[in-house]
Amino acid sequence: MAEPIHEVAAPATPTPPELLAEEVQGSKEAVANFLELLRVLDEQGLLRTMTDFLRSNEEILRFAADWLSRPRNLRAVQNLRRVLETLDRVDPERLDRILTEVTEAVERAAAVEPAGPRLGGFAVMRQLGEPETNRGLRVLLAALSKFGTVGERESEDGS
């Protein structure tokens, strides 16, 4: 006679998280700090951003490397980063002034024409869809794949 049972007994053996908890008892504080860091990063969505960019495939890295290697783009990104950094601290009244500053910064950046043949952002993006139509990009990508990371490329450039 098997009567229905509605409950499940608590597991007798410790679960993996419990085992982990036991193990880290010794370095509680460090772990707590680390977890707090992870939590904040996760809350801000930054953990995912970092992971995604790390996980991203070659294509993106090459695209990024190519795109960032153009001085005006690098400056635009630097500008943008500064803006993002300050934005959370900005009160609404100051926003207009900041916007003006940023616009000017970007316009100044835009005034600096990169040396060599110009490969427009649009063209680059179209290339990603239709790689066979822009030989220039392929040459660039091939060059990049030789140089490897952005950092190496920058040092090769002497920048």
Binding site: A2, A12, G45, D52, N57, I60, A64, A76, V106, R126
Partner: protein, 973 residues
């Protein structure tokens, strides 16, 4: 084929091609935003402009003519397109980097990028975001008024909720002409959010999840958007958003799967990040559903990550379930099954295969029963639903499955729906019928005891008494014969036993049918006339036909009627039992039936037996197996001692719950394999926790005999295993030499042993490809059956005479008849769907539908607590007064797992040939127990349920109204 000249270059165009079709077919990219192939030209965006003979025309809506000259790229026409794009973008803020739609498939983003848009003006609309629906939101500010959602809602899925109110300034999309989404007639099918080319209609599950920047605080995001308005779009910021979108795509996985709920077989990509389900995206190439889904398939997946899932095998010890390791659990199950087998013989064990598992899992389960345990006691839940349909089809045409596919149904002149609440139980199929009816005048007849959506829409609604359909089918057949309307050639050339059939129809006069069904004679005549007038007819049926004492005979009578009128074996015809579970078709097809080996090969056919004995290296059992319902009886009378039940809540699914509970108590050993601690699992000695469909690969067969593959979207939840692995491990622990690496190998074994699946290979089912069985070794499949011959030795269909069986009817004491069935939002006992917050908001509890007349007579009001009593049992439930039921018919939905399950009431009556319970023949009485709790009578269904609202049909988006607006500039000449 014709030739057109685009910018002077010749292009071939197929007949019926528009200019846009021809361009795209020839690999020429050309802007188009509102156009979507499945929706057709909407003509709202004007971004596709080209010039023909100096006049601007919309490429998406202009037919090609041989010799036509098209200007697609001159500076003038490109400028005109840019101008129109600018108009469109007035309605949309290009904040792509912070937008959750920019995942590589945002139509507007891609088009704007392709057109090189540098800067645009944006005029916010003065309307707030409507986030009232639990599953998706509408943001008017981002809505480009393309009308795709309207077209989809009105004419694709035909739920008829959305329109664009072109008279407003500015116009916007409205629900039921201006309600909030949650109070409208919207059934939350999600198709509008699937087709929206931008982030205006967006699934809530992805809001704040896709963009790397969308989790930043709202004020910061606001500032960022303002910032982007000043700066964007410049090339550089486009590039940032492209870069960011590519990084998103790296972390979002899109896996093609097949829906786990009903038997329609909707296929879609599920977008996940780790175990998080971001959204479900049907695709144009989804073979059964195209862009459509229902609320369950699109939004009903919370159960997969529910904390209530079982994550460890459990063994009953001292009145409690104790978690144990997998090795211990498997060994224990094998040992106990071996003991029972040794003591009482192999036929003392019964096995139930799951109809939500894959075909390959079903195959292994029946192989375990037959080869390893040594019994044909193997069945599945088709026993409770469509076994009588298979019987009717096998008797008359030879194959116990849908004779055609959904396209045949959509193409038919006349669709007869018998005992199927299609719009709720098979919503995506219903949409195809609704679309055919709305857009091309298909005729629809509904025979039902209840006025559901399809009945409301029907050209003829025949309200019948429960169990009377056989009399109606036969009376219509007799009327057809009496008027000489039968298809003589077809009968002559392709059928046998006609005379006996004609004779059997003698008693079925209109008077007789009227008396037993309550359907007026004139209605029966009208029905017969419509059948006669239709060149092609499909009959669809479900549980309202099968779950009766004469279920098999009624299905047979419907098939006879199709034969009489020549409606088998040609396009747009046939008989279609609609399958309830995602793989109830496949689990039967792959042999989990007591009397059939895989591919409906008879268990007692010597040639078949020899082939399987050779293939499996075993002597097959000689004794006929028990059906699932007979296993209940056998447990009670001491013949069955152990059961292994996979993925079926038998306690709730089988009739007469108290009896099934008693049977479980009597067993020596019960193993249940499940995701959750179900009511059946509560009786188990061992519970084995298993994976959900998203966590495994394999194939399903949908209602239309369509084989499709599902893929692993995420690994099995920690602690669980796939049914595949568990069954294999049990077989090995019981001594079998099984070493299947995966479902692909199993499919190969099935193909080798089963002619119907000879050409069903893993590769042929790659991606969104599918096959209709039988599949020849060459790979040729069978969209509809019987084109050349029926599945009998002489190739002829067989008229199978039927006689009238009196159904169980109400009497003086049990004076009402109780119908039961599904509601759109939930699935079965709610084991899965009740874990979706959104679905629970829409339908938090079940209720008893009672007609206004009966409610008035018994003094019952909305929300009153009512006791329902049958000869078997009783339950208490709140009442909902509704015109969906009439007179003395009540309706109770299935979706409760606790104290209000309809099988507390159902009895032992069954359909004799199949042993399927007569769930739908149930006489009950009711009494009011308590008045509803509210001050006013309040229905036990929230006002936000779409059943309280009225649909607002129209044809498409009514673009002419846009063109008539004073702010619209007509196309230039």
């Amino acid at each position: 084929m014709s030739t057109i000249y685009v910018d002077g270059k010749p292009l071939t165009a197929s007949p019926g091609d528009t200019i846009l079709d021809a361009l795209l077919r020839n690999g020429i990219s050309h802007p188009h935003v509102c156009y979507q192939a499945k929706l057709g030209p909407l003509q709202t965006c004007d971004t596709c402009l080209v010039a023909v003979d100096g006049r601007q025309v919309r490429a998406c809506a202009t037919a090609t003519i041989d010799g036509m000259h098209v200007d697609a790229s001159s500076a003038g026409i490109a400028a005109a397109r840019l101008d129109r794009m600018g108009q469109l973008l007035l309605n949309h803020n290009l904040y792509c980097t912070v937008c959750d739609k920019n995942n590589g498939d945002c139509v507007l983003h891609n088009t704007a990028l392709g057109m090189g848009i540098q800067r645009h003006d944006f005029r916010p609309k003065p309307y707030p975001v409507d986030a009232s629906n639990p599953f998706f939101q509408y943001n008017p500010n981002q809505c480009i008024l393309c009308g795709r959602c309207v077209e989809a809602c009105q004419d694709l899925v035909v739920n008829e909720v959305l329109s664009i109110d072109w008279s407003l300034n500015p116009p916007r999309v409205v629900f039921d002409h201006g309600k909030d989404a949650n109070h409208s007639s919207c059934v939350s099918c999600g198709t509008c959010s699937t087709v929206c080319p931008v982030d205006a209609l967006l699934e809530k599950s992805i809001v704040g999840e896709a963009s790397h920047f969308s989790r930043i605080s709202a004020p910061t995001k606001e500032k960022l958007v303002q910032l982007s308005q000043t700066l964007i779009p410049t090339e550089e910021l486009w590039a940032i958003s492209e870069l960011e979108a590519k990084a998103r795509q790296a972390s979002i996985t899109r896996t093609k799967t097949v829906c786990t709920f009903c038997g329609v077989g909707c296929a879609f990509d599920v977008w996940t990040r780790g175990r998080k389900i971001l959204k479900v995206m049907p695709r144009e190439e989804s073979p059964a559903n195209g862009l459509a889904t229902c609320v369950k398939g699109k939004f009903g997946w919370s159960f997969v990550n529910s904390p209530e899932r079982l994550t460890s095998p459990l063994v009953r010890r001292n009145g409690t379930f104790v978690p144990v390791g997998w090795d211990e659990a498997i060994e224990y199950v094998a040992q106990r099954l071996r003991e029972v087998k040794e003591r009482h013989g192999p036929d003392s064990i019964g096995v139930i295969a799951t109809c939500t598992g894959t075909d390959e899992e079903a195959y292994l389960t029946q192989k375990l029963a037959r080869q390893v345990i040594g019994t044909h006691n193997i069945d599945n839940c088709a026993r409770y639903c469509q076994a009588p349909a298979s019987m009717g089809l096998i008797r008359t045409v030879g194959v116990g499955a849908d004779s055609g596919n959904f396209e045949e149904i959509a193409a038919s002149d006349l669709v007869v729906l018998c005992g199927t609440n299609t719009a709720e139980a098979h919503p995506v199929l219903a949409s195809k019928i609704k679309r055919a009816q709305k857009t091309r005048g298909q005729k629809v007849i509904v025979l039902d005891v209840r006025r559901h959506e399809m009945a409301e829409r029907a050209d003829l609604f025949v309200k019948t008494a429960p169990g009377a359909d056989l009399a109606i089918a036969n009376a219509v057949a007799k009327y057809v014969l009496d008027h000489g309307w039968q298809d003589r050639t077809f009968i002559e050339d392709r059928t046998s036993n006609f005379d006996a059939y004609v004779q059997s129809l003698e008693p079925f006069t209109l008077e007789f049918a009227e008396r037993v069904s309550g359907v007026p004679r004139a209605t029966l005549v009208r029905l017969a006339e419509m059948v006669h007038a239709a060149r092609t007819m499909c009959i669809l049926w479900a549980m309202g036909i099968t779950q009766h004492g004469a279920g098999s005979d009624t299905c047979t009578a419907l098939c006879n009627l199709l034969l009489l009128t020549g409606n088998f074996g040609k396009p747009a015809t046939g008989g279609y039992p609609l399958r309830g579970h995602c793989n109830v078709q496949g689990v039967s097809d792959f042999g989990a039936l007591p009397t059939f080996l895989p591919g409906y090969q008879r268990w007692d056919d010597p040639e078949v037996v020899r082939r399987f004995e050779r293939g499996w290296n075993v002597t097959l059992p000689k004794k006929k197996g028990l059906t699932s319902t007979e296993m209940t009886d056998a447990a009670l009378d001491g013949r069955l001692h152990a059961m292994y039940i996979i993925g079926e809540d038998k306690l709730l699914a089988d009739a007469n719950q108290a009896k099934v509970a008693e049977a479980f108590r009597t067993l020596d050993f019960l193993v249940v394999q499940e995701l959750f601690l179900t009511r059946t699992a509560e009786f188990a000695d061992v519970i084995l926790p298993v994976a959900a469909s998203l966590e495994k690969e394999g194939t399903f067969v949908s209602s239309e005999r369509r084989l499709q593959r599902l893929n692993v979207a995420m690994p099995p939840l920690a602690g669980t295993k796939t049914d595949f692995e568990v069954v294999q491990r049990i077989a090995r622990a019981m001594g079998a030499d099984w070493n299947y690496a995966g479902p692909r190998e199993v499919l190969e074994e099935v193909a080798a042993l089963t002619p119907a699946f000879a050409g069903a290979t893993w590769e042929r089912l790659e991606g969104f490809r599918s096959l209709f069985w039988p599949v020849a070794a060459s790979g040729e499949d069978t969209p509809y059956l019987y084109r050349d011959r029926f599945a009998f030795p002489d190739g002829r269909a067989h008229f199978f005479p039927t006689a009238w069986t009196e159904p169980e009817r109400p009497d003086a004491e049990y004076d009402l008849s109780l119908d039961n069935g599904r509601m759109l939002e939930h699935f079965h006992w709610g084991n899965l769907t009740a874990l979706s917050e959104g679905i629970e908001q829409k339908v938090p509890e079940i209720f008893l539908e009672i007609s206004p007349e009966l409610a008035a007579e018994r003094g019952i009001e909305n929300g009153d607590l009512v006791r329902v009593t049958s000869r078997t049992g009783s339950l208490r439930v709140n009442a909902l007064v509704t015109k969906r039921v009439e007179g003395k018919t009540l309706f109770l939905s299935l979706h409760d797992a606790e104290r209000r399950t309809v099988n507390q009431l159902t009895g032992d009556r069954r359909d004799p040939p199949t042993q399927t319970p007569a769930y739908k023949e149930l006489a009950v009485k009711i009494e009011k127990v308590a008045t509803g709790s509210g001050a006013e009578p309040e229905p036990p269904l929230p006002r936000t349920n779409p059943r309280f609202a009225t649909r607002v049909p129209q044809r498409g988006v009514l673009v002419e109204q846009k063109w008539a607006r004073p702010d619209y500039r007509p196309l230039g000449g």
